[in-house]
């Protein structure tokens, strides 16, 4: 029994090393993507430009008078633009993180091949 188990575990371990790069671009990539989407959702929760857009004509701080409405509209517009830009930057950050995931193996291969071409000391 012990030998059988050991044999199976060791074979599994060897196969695992070959599966590792494949995993990186399949299941792993999906995992990374979902993680980035989660991060984006967190950003959206915080910046919430959609919520501001929905309330664009609702005066801020209960200022229902004419002037209040105009100031609120302008303020909200500015907020929406600002928040959208912030969210866009956040999105880019998420995308960069995802691409870093995708690029890591490529960079490693590039680094190794480059290293091998450098004369040894």
């Amino acid at each position: 029994m012990f030998i059988l188990v050991l044999q199976r575990v060791l074979v599994g371990a060897v196969l695992d090393i070959f599966y590792f790069p494949l995993w990186w671009y399949t299941v792993g990539a999906k995992h990374a993507l979902l993680w980035c989407v989660g991060l984006l959702a967190y950003g959206n929760d915080n910046f919430a430009p959609g919520l501001w857009l929905k309330n664009i004509f609702v005066p801020m701080y209960g200022q229902y008078d004419f002037q209040g409405r105009i100031i609120s509209f302008l303020m909200r517009l500015a907020q929406i633009i600002g928040r959208s830009v912030a969210l866009a930057v956040w999105l880019v950050l998420c995308l960069i993180l995802f691409f870093i995931w995708l690029l890591i193996p490529v960079v490693i291969v590039w680094g190794l091949t480059r290293a091998l071409s450098v004369p040894k000391i």
């Binding site: 188990v5 792993g28 701080y61 190794l112």
Partner: protein, 925 residues
């Protein structure tokens, strides 16, 4: 309460692989490794985790190997980078990096090949470690979400029966592997049970083995520790109970244990238990419940240890509550981190409310800061509240008796609002509690109304405020204007009826009836009744709060203690409701146990009983040897004071014994007795004796001379004047000392309407006083004495009739002049006290002289009484018509008067002996 066995599930087990999912080392071709399954709620639920020796060994091997693999990866990564760093240091290449960021790239390019290779190998091992960490964090499947619509439809749980061929063809979304919802701990318990059965050569894996294995897990042993049973000793007992496999049936090493049908049921029942209890995962606690429900032998075993179904269910729920509260705390505190702490909504449409803030507290903010408790076992009320809010109801009023938990429901709502776990209408809003005292302080009623108007107008403008007015009745009755024309209630009603802001209020049931039901406010609020918790719910509520108490007092509560606290609170404290009353008891018991037994001690049911006894005076603790001896010899103790009257003494002693061991109706007073008989035969004396012997002193008795209640107005003296609290002589006395003897002396003299009050007291053990409070008489013993029909009794006695016959005639004739039959019928015993005979009088004389002797003893003088003296005194004091009273007069005249003269004249001094002679004369010897 015995355990009930659930109806067996219709499990389809694969015949080819014998429900193991494997044939040899390969997946079974017949069931595709699904091993066993059943159709439930329109799904095919199956078990795909092979419980076989090889598979478990393999998984164990993998677990160990995975650890080694991850450690190796970390070591390799660190090695690579440490060596690379070392080489950089040795070659001096690091100096190039010091020129700033612009020099980094060329510096990197100039690094030697070895350093670069080491660096990149380090990156690879780090990535590999990352990969292993992600993949080993098994994505656990969750138990399907509880579907409220399906709960009543039983037929939905029993589904269509499939064959393996049909089951395999089902689409993926219709199949659910229940083993993926088992926590690692639950799986480890199964593996351990299997290992145990395998090691001991059992042919099948049975409920016993799993129970035995479960007891080794912390969470389960904690459940049993709460039940006062150390897991280790149960484990030893279970080990003894397990039948050893007979040699012939013992498997040889080639075969291995298979899952017994019972265990198959247990796996699927555990999943069902998790589903019914709204749990996300199947954990060891669900396995425990399923194992116990499946095995009658384990049930019998637990039953012998005084663990029944309800006890186990509540103890398991305790473990779950702790875990659930922890998870909820994490989830809610994460969710509430998005909220503004300045009272603003996300879209900033709200208005700051400085005026309101001066008179209120923000409950949602408190919830965010973690200052409120979770509301437990209040799902029904919460759902109803949501239904009213979603249905468009503007204002809700929670109505319930004091201490029932109205405020904690609202605080629970605040918790949910902070995490946005509420209907849309309540999302992104603040729940603000209006402080009535702040509103009313330092102002006139007109000022208060003005303040309220300002507050409500601010609430309306702010649009994100839900106002909470706790005890709204405190506001009502504050009136202003000529002839109190303007009331706060009217202002509130006017402002709230606009329907712009949502308000939640609470009030007590009696206050609702008094102040709100008939007022303008009743139309504004939708009423939501909050009922007192059932015992089980209250136990769970107490369990949820006990953690803080345990931490504060450094003690540990057993389940029995919690259960007893709730039961006793329900029985003995009527001022307050469950769970508030039980919480008061447990918190006192925690402090008591800490002081008595020190830190880290166990609070048992005995400490709870002690605290309740101290609070109420009712003996609730376990009966010790001393007390049981005393109870068994009650008659003897009573006869030391009461001469004769055996029937009455026996009756009372038996009633008290029944009461102490709780073999009696708990909805009635301990006993109701009517003592009949001529004057001076010992009726009142017996009552006094009971008070002294059992209730701890003659003064521990509520004595009402019913001759004082000869007209109807006496009712108000007994139960209090209408609207005035605490003025009823009877109700207040019993409310303050529920464990007492109530003596109604000369009851025949009371007005018949007053007797009607006692009809209810004697039947239901309760009486409502003038303020509407229910007073509990179930721990009192009621004794009424009466001289009614004395002359008739004496006539009949002279005529030579037996007391039994006289009693019969009295009940059916003479007594009806005084009492209605239904009144007489309420008594548990009616005793006719016998007239005293000369021999009795002699004994009484002896008793009375003993008291005189005790008085003299205090002065250092001894009293000697001879037999002749007793005979003489008994003769002198004997009068069959007047009982023992003439005896008292004789003693006064013949003995006490002489003694007083002798003491004053100085003929009797300290250390003297005085003797009562045969003719009653006194002489110093």
């Amino acid at each position: 309460m015995m355990f009930e066995k659930k109806p067996p599930l219709d499990i389809l087990a694969c015949p080819s692989c014998k429900a193991t999912g494997l044939i040899g080392f390969k997946k079974c071709a017949h069931c595709h490794g699904m091993s066993m399954g059943l159709s439930r709620r329109g799904q095919w639920q199956f078990w795909s985790y092979p419980l076989t020796r090889y598979n478990l060994a393999l998984l164990n091997g993998r677990r160990i190997f995975n650890k080694i693999r991850r450690i190796t990866a970390v070591v390799l990564w660190l090695n690579c980078w440490v060596w690379a760093g070392l080489f950089i240091y040795q070659t001096g290449a690091y100096k190039e990096f010091l020129f700033g960021p612009s020099a980094w790239l060329p510096a990197l390019a100039n690094l030697s090949a070895t350093i670069q290779i080491l660096f990149w190998l380090g990156v690879i091992t780090l990535c590999y470690f990352w990969y292993r960490t992600i993949t080993e964090k098994k994505a656990q499947g969750a138990v399907e979400k509880y579907d409220y619509d399906k709960k009543s439809a039983d037929e939905s749980t029993a589904g269509k029966t499939y064959s393996w061929g049909e089951a395999l063809k089902l689409p993926r979304h219709k199949k659910r592997a229940i083993d993926s919802t088992f926590t690692d701990e639950a799986m480890a318990a199964l593996a351990e049970a299997y290992g145990f059965a395998d090691k001991n050569n059992y042919p099948t894996l049975d409920a016993y083995h799993l129970f035995y294995a479960l007891l080794a897990f912390n969470r389960i042993s904690n459940v049993f520790i709460r039940l006062g049973l150390p897991a280790k000793s149960i484990r030893d007992n279970i080990f003894q109970m397990m039948a050893k496999p007979a040699k012939s049936t013992a498997q040889n090493r080639a075969s291995m244990p298979l899952l017994s049908p019972d265990l198959q049921q247990i796996l699927f029942q555990a999943y069902e238990e998790a589903y019914q209890a709204h749990q996300d995962y199947v954990s060891v606690t669900e396995l425990l419940v399923a194992v116990v429900a499946q095995s009658p032998e384990i049930q019998e075993f637990l039953y012998d240890l005084e663990v029944d179904k309800r006890k186990l269910a509540n103890a398991v729920e305790w473990a779950r509550i702790r875990e659930r509260l922890y998870r909820q705390y994490i989830k809610y505190s994460r969710a509430s981190s998005h909220r503004s702490k300045k009272g603003m909504d996300k879209a900033m449409t709200a208005l700051a409310t400085p005026y309101l803030n001066a008179f209120s507290e923000d409950l949602t903010l408190y919830a965010q800061l973690g200052r409120l408790d979770f509301a437990v076992a209040r799902d029904r009320e919460m759902e109803e509240l949501f239904r009213i809010v979603e249905g468009g109801g503007q204002n809700v009023i929670l109505v319930g008796v004091r201490g029932v938990g109205k405020r904690s429901i609202v605080e629970g709502l605040a918790e949910r609002m902070a995490a946005d776990d509420v209907p849309k209408r309540l999302q992104d809003k603040r729940l603000v509690r209006l402080s009535v005292s702040a509103l009313l302080s330092g102002t006139t009623p007109t000022g208060a109304i003005e303040r309220l108007r300002n507050i409500l107008s601010e609430v309306r403008r702010a649009r994100n405020v839900i106002l909470f007015i706790h005890n709204i009745h405190e506001l009502i009755g504050v009136s202003a204007g000529a002839g109190s024309s303007l009331d706060v209630a009217d202002t509130l009603a006017e402002q709230l009826s606009g329907g712009e802001a949502l308000t939640i209020a609470t009030t007590a049931t009696d206050e609702y009836a008094r102040h709100i039901a008939g007022s303008s406010l009743s139309g504004v609020f939708t009423k939501l009744d909050v009922k007192e918790m059932e015992e089980d719910q209250a136990i769970q509520a107490v369990e949820s709060r006990i953690g803080a108490l345990e931490y504060k007092h450094q003690v540990f509560f057993s389940y029995d203690a919690v259960e007893k606290a709730v039961q006793m609170a329900a029985r003995f404290t009527h001022e307050n409701c469950l769970p508030g009353s039980a919480l008061a008891i447990v918190s006192e018991a925690a402090a008591y146990a800490r002081n008595k037994k020190g830190a880290d001690s166990l609070v048992s049911a005995e400490e709870i009983a002690q605290v309740v006894s101290d609070k109420t005076g009712i003996p609730t603790t376990a009966i010790g040897a001393d007390e049981s001896g005393k109870l068994l010899k009650l008659e003897e103790a009573m006869h030391q004071r009461v001469i004769g009257q055996d029937e009455a003494v026996d009756l009372v002693a038996n009633a008290l014994r029944r009461a102490r061991v709780e073999i009696r109706s708990k909805a009635k007073p301990i006993a109701n007795f009517l003592f009949l008989g001529p004057t001076g035969v010992g009726k009142t004396e017996l009552a006094k004796t009971i008070a002294a012997v059992y209730f701890g002193g003659e003064e521990k008795m509520v004595r009402l001379d019913m001759s004082e209640y000869q007209d109807k107005s006496g009712i108000y003296r007994l139960i209090g004047a209408p609207g005035e609290k605490g003025t009823g002589i009877l109700t207040e006395a019993i409310r303050q000392h529920p464990f007492t003897l109530l003596l109604l002396d000369e009851i025949e003299k009371a007005d018949p309407d007053i007797l009607n009050i006692f009809l209810q007291v004697m039947d239901d053990g309760r009486l409502t006083d003038s303020a509407g409070r229910v007073v509990d008489f179930t721990n009192a013993i009621i004794i009424a004495t009466s001289n009614a029909g004395t002359s008739y009794v004496q006539e009949q006695l002279h005529a030579g009739l037996s007391t039994e016959a006289i009693k019969e005639r009295l009940l059916h004739g003479e007594l009806k002049q005084y009492f209605r039959p239904e009144f007489l019928n309420r008594f548990d015993g009616i005793v006719l006290f016998k007239p005293l005979a000369l021999a009795d009088i002699k004994k009484i004389a002896k008793l009375m002289l003993k008291r005189v002797a005790a008085d003299l003893d205090a002065k250092g003088i001894e009293l000697v009484i001879g037999e002749a003296a007793l005979d003489f005194l008994a003769q002198a004091g004997y009068d069959p018509d007047f009982g023992a009273r003439p005896m008292r007069r004789v003693l006064q005249e013949r003995v006490e008067n002489q003694l007083a003269e002798m003491l004053l004249s100085g003929t009797l001094k300290r250390r003297d002996k005085v003797m009562v002679g045969g003719n009653g004369e006194l002489s110093v010897i």
